[in-house]
Symmetry: C2
DNA sequence: TCAGTTTAATTAAACGATTAACCTGACATA
DNA sequence: TATGTCAGGTTAATCGTTTAATTAAACTGA
């Protein structure tokens, strides 16, 4: 690899001059500039970022720590982050914790465990000398001990930071659920069941709150018996479908598209149809929801937007600006054909 | 940030000794080692990889260049690569070309265009001083001008390298298609339609070849009229369904799960069912295929496996070993309920 | 006892770029 | 004439770590 030193020698100038030219500084005659650039072109010189990084103490690199790339929410958030990075001349380095694929779906709410995982990666990021970190959680939860001792500006996404100095960008679970349930109510539904995730999960809690709010706004009495906490997967939706239908609900709010998929399967096997015999809504607007028949009405989480927002926040922090501590990115209802009016 | 120099001063030894201790070299007394390690622990010293990289001329970093992370095939391949990297002490740095999201689904077969895209990223990777590169293509095609002038050991995935020095890992499109069609034939089908991608696409060509082979093996005459080239999306599948059914086929081999999704929609709207009125198979085993009703029989592409294989190949190259030039990773049929026997 | 080896260190030169500080000559200004 | 300013450079230190070369003392064995 050809270095600045060789260029300098060949041109009979100092390395400082070559460096100045490559960095677009003034105080160089057009003649010298042309001579140097010619040699740079001819030799195919490539800047060594490692050397520059060492000297400048800035690597123009953002570290992305993903709890699990396999989690469906992660790649899109990464994409949003990368987009903003690219537009601002930052490179990205990605670390994948493989939380779920490695430990088979253990839900990481255990603080102790989390910290033993996060600390070393952040340390690694410090060793790499990243200028900032975007931490992408796999699901909503409180993160109380994000390691700040390395003094790397960081932003959390999808999880709630418990630390003043580390802002987070999350989805507005509560309001998204409220809007979705209101949509059902607007279609005449009054007895609305909920197929929820785990009871102690933060997503689930917030969405139930949104559900309650929508009922309250419409003057409908909240009946906790209409909520079945099961899990997030298709299999849970399928398993609890019969029990849910027995309650005589006219609509079901599923807290994930997968759960709705389970319900659809049950309906299919029993000769029923969503949007006709019963109304169904999902959550997430995963790719699958567009393939349901009939198409599933659901809530789109703007994951790319979360990534973008988080990275812009980080950019502000890097500029030394004061930033917000918590940004809730709104969700957007996607209307398909799984909801029908009640006469 | 505390450096090796400060540790050295505090312990009254040279930086060389500290470095030797941190790198587990012998020739250090237990006493000195203990003293230094104590200070390292206490101060929370973190190695500076940038400095080490500069000195060692090795960064222990693999560059991953993805044509588009939004492409459904990409994240899983990245995951496979990262897994092997992690197990071997390599970090990864990811560049996202955003081929499709940036240019709205332009299919990058144009060599010229490709090169103008790839060259600068590889150069960037050279500047970052990565030890090797995994290039993740968005779809099967020939890549004829992968830039080799930077002398970075590289492996291509999902696309066919035209360069002896750059091996590639691809899926075995032809055989996967053959197996799938044979499966239909084994169920008694003889008139099998194909909803294919674009005619000039390499995936499509290879899969058609597999289709022909299966027919040939079974002694069925190949009728090109049963193939409709449309595109890869749901909308194409839907649009061409009527035309396909008019041909009187008893089974349809869809070249993507999305196409099959379009066909399913058509069947749904016309009161028909896959696996009952007609047999349908897809390709890719995307998440959606498990949500089709009834479940779609399809072909699983082992994307994580491709990533792993590619990275292991790169590891061999980095060790200076001689490697294969082309590895075809086999696909695996996933049997669900969309295929029925013909009586 | 002494040459030879081993152990436990040190010294100083890299790695490649950046940058603060300095230098030199030309020209302008009062 | 003295002083200041500016263009167009150069010098040399520096970033933090590694490592080849060297040293000095201690030990080994015949």
């Amino acid at each position: 690899m050809v270095t600045i030193k060789e260029i300098a020698k060949e041109c009979g100038v100092s390395t400082a001059t070559v460096s100045n030219i490559l960095n677009g500084k003034k105080n160089v005659s057009d003649e010298t500039r042309a001579k140097v650039m010619a040699v740079v072109e001819r030799t195919g010189y490539t800047l060594n970022y490692v050397a520059r990084g060492l000297r400048r103490q800035k690597t123009q690199t953002i570290g992305i720590i993903a709890e699990d790339i396999g989690q469906f929410t992660t790649p899109e958030m990464i994409e949003g982050v990368m987009e903003v990075c690219e537009d601002n001349g930052y490179k990205t380095i990605v670390q994948n914790l493989r939380f779920y694929s490695r430990w088979n779906d253990i839900w990481f709410d255990n603080e102790e465990m989390c910290n033993t995982m996060i600390y070393p990666v952040v340390q690694e990021m410090a060793a790499i000398q990243v200028d900032g970190i975007i931490y992408i959680a796999g699901h909503a939860r409180k993160i109380s001990k994000y390691p700040t001792q390395f003094n790397i500006p960081s932003v959390l996404t999808y999880a709630y930071s418990q630390d003043e100095s580390v802002p987070s960008v999350v989805i507005d679970d509560e309001d998204a659920a409220r809007v979705m349930v209101k949509y059902l109510i607007d279609h005449g539904h009054r007895k609305i069941g909920v197929l929820a995730g785990e009871q102690d999960n933060l997503h689930a809690k917030l969405r139930v709150r949104g559900y309650q709010k929508a009922l309250y706004d419409a003057g409908i009495l909240y009946n906790p018996d209409l909520i079945i906490y099961a899990g997030w997967g298709k299999e849970f939706g399928y398993r609890e479908s019969a029990k849910m239908l027995e309650k005589g609900v006219t609509a079901v709010f599923c807290m994930s598209d997968q759960i709705a998929g389970g319900l659809y399967q049950y309906l299919f096997e029993h000769g029923m149809q969503a949007g006709k015999d019963i109304s169904v809504v999902g959550f997430d607007n995963q790719v699958i929801s567009d393939y349901f028949l009939p198409g599933l009405t659901t809530t789109k989480i703007d994951l790319v937007g979360i990534g973008r927002t988080a990275m812009n926040l980080l950019l502000d922090k890097l500029d030394g600006k004061e930033t917000e501590k918590l940004i809730k990115v709104p969700c957007k209802p996607i209307k398909r054909q799984s909801v029908c009016k009640i006469k």
